[in-house]
């Protein structure tokens, strides 16, 4: 545990706590919504990992006009998405597949985009986003911009060819990119030892000629500090770096996974390292916040999730025919003629 506030003021320290609380509250709200039948698809918790995404994203330059740093989150890094301005209501709309959401019901959960705010949602095929972020940050270097990019991926994703091709490309091209390895010790039911023979991902850094370090992913301030240092190096021209978050996935891969392949004692052990509890205790101990302030933040997080979710629930699903639009920017794809007014294809 680090002893200082790393130069952060009271407001910022509270902002960090707020982001942690929002992440937790949003996911708990999701679970509720799912039980009520409002969610399309799975719910993927990041319980125990909240501090990694929050601490890392907090160390970046967040803007809303397309001039800030770029972020590619994962489903377990929703906290980063929120810090970058992703709205709670959009988060719920996405999970509920509403037509009012940012992808108008076409894509799931955190797979959404806002280039002005600076985030690009992932796609499911693992590894891909490292290639994409390598290219985004390449463009920063080519144009001499001071921006950097950050891409998150789990331990399991490191086995993919895309991870390697993207990271190696970035390293060689000195793209200002930070790869955050979310080492939560599991990839679905597969322990990290079956995805790689290394015990820490920092061992992979030298193989790409890039700097890499590990940090306790349950300690939001430690993460913030490590990533801020990495970001400074990257921004000042060092090129690509890697930061490994060490923590544990305290829930199943998704709601449907009872996680019975995990030793319950291990889960209990990690419950004691809950990032919200740890940070809360620190805030109080260091007198960076009062109990009342914290309760207010918690209440606010809870309330804003409830309000956003309720608003989203009432909103409409997309219209079926919207399925055919925007496949191209210009060409309209053929309409399925059997659903046209006449089944005669010569009239379509």
């Amino acid at each position: 545990m680090s002893d200082s506030a790393f130069g952060l003021g009271r407001t910022e320290l509270h902002d960090l706590y707020r982001a942690l609380c929002v992440t937790r509250a949003a996911e708990e709200r999701l679970e509720l919504l799912q039980k009520q039948g409002h969610v399309t698809g799975g719910v993927y918790r990041c319980l125990g990992q909240e501090a990694g995404a929050v601490g890392a994203a907090f160390a970046l330059r967040r803007r809303t006009d397309g001039t800030g740093d770029m972020l590619c989150h994962t489903i377990r890094a929703a906290g980063a998405l929120f810090l970058f301005g992703g709205e709670l209501i959009d988060y719920f709309r996405q999970y509920m597949a509403k037509g009012t959401g940012p992808t108008r019901g076409r894509e799931a959960n955190v797979h959404w985009f806002d280039f002005d705010k600076g985030f690009v949602g992932p796609v499911s095929p693992l590894g891909t986003m490292i290639e994409i972020m390598a290219g985004m940050t390449l463009s920063f270097r080519l144009r001499g911009e001071e921006r950097i990019g950050m891409v998150f991926y789990g331990d399991g994703a490191s086995s993919t060819g895309a991870w390697h091709e993207g990271l190696n490309f970035a390293a060689v091209q000195r793209c200002p990119m930070i790869l955050m390895v979310e080492n939560n010790q599991w990839a679905f039911s597969t322990p990290t030892s079956k995805n790689t023979r290394v015990s820490s991902f920092t061992e992979k850094g030298p193989g790409y000629g890039i700097g890499a370090e590990s940090v306790d992913g349950t300690d939001v301030l430690a993460v913030f500090d490590a990533v801020r240092r990495a970001a400074n190096l990257v921004r000042s021209g060092e090129g690509t770096r890697m930061v490994e978050l060490k923590y544990f996935r305290r829930r199943g891969h998704a709601q449907h996974d009872p996680q019975d392949y995990v030793d319950p004692a291990e889960i209990r052990k990690w419950e004691k390292k809950d990032p919200l509890d740890l940070y809360r205790a620190r805030l109080l101990e260091k007198e960076w916040a009062s109990e009342a302030e914290l309760v207010a933040i918690e209440q606010d997080a809870f309330d804003s999730c409830r309000v956003a979710a309720e608003e989203a629930i009432g909103e409409p699903y997309p219209d079926g025919p919207d399925a055919v639009t925007d496949v191209y920017t210009d060409v309209s794809t053929p309409h399925p003629w059997t659903r046209a007014d006449s089944p005669d294809p010569t009239l379509a």
Partner: protein, 341 residues
Amino acid sequence: MDREIPEHLLKTKNGEPVTMLEAISEALFEEMTRDDSVFLLGEDIGVYGGAFKVTRDFLTHFGENRVIDTPIAEGGFTGAAAGAAHMGLRPVVEIQFMDFISPAYDVITNYIATSNYRGAGPMPLVIRGPVGGGNRGGPFHSQNVEMAFFHTPGLKIVYPSTAKDAKGLLKASIRDENPVIFEEHKGLYRAPALREVLPDDDYVIPLGKARTVREGTDLTIVTYGAMVHKSVEAAETLESEDGVSVEIIDLRTLLPLDEDAIVESVKKTNKLLVVHEDTRTGGIAGEIAIRVSEKAFEWLDGPILRVTAIDAPVPYSGSLEDYFLPQTGDVVNAARYLAAY
């Protein structure tokens, strides 16, 4: 192997009906029991038993050397399977969702499919996994992958529509000396209507042979996978409401295509409708149309038509996906139009 067979894999032995998913599990289990050289590779297939539980309890029964949990590297482990096949093993690879076969596209099309032709010998290798839409899976958990591989000589592609076919075709695929892509529709896995009691013997359904699901005289529907069932529904409507008699051919194997079965049926009914769940442009309907044009043009009394998904990625939201996918009503409309042609 003196371990007991897990209870849920004894249903056919006990004369109980099985789902398509259970039929697939049985096929794998029986082939692994019959032939020591058959082994499994894939993500989360061991302790977890696979994302859809197809290999539940296989690990305890067959051990770590025959049920291998791989790193997340579809290209890597499919390539490794090919190497093992060179050395006399018969690997069955599970792709967790067939959408994720694309990182293996290179090794499948360039290495695996060309092995026998290049003189590197037979390539007994099955790549299987869940496909298809209707589950609100969005663009990356809903794809049909046949057309990514249909154009690659050297591959076989199998896509069963019933529990019985799934078991017999999977066994045939595992025994085949050529690489087989085996597509399992998620919507059929546990569909109650598909539960059936299977023959208790070691039956095999030959690759490359279509099945006539339903005889008819007015019109032929060529289809496969989940669309077989929507087509049957449509045919029943057409028969009862319009008195139209529809013949339905379930392709079962897409590559090699059972051209003879298709042509023969068209020569009888003189009308052809192709129904596939996959997207429209570049779908298999095109190849079927030109084969029929080549071989039975004179028998055609109407245009060859098709009912398919829309040309778009698979959208996530239910309303969009339902619109995206071909529906029974679409089959009815098209068939009605064609019958009256």
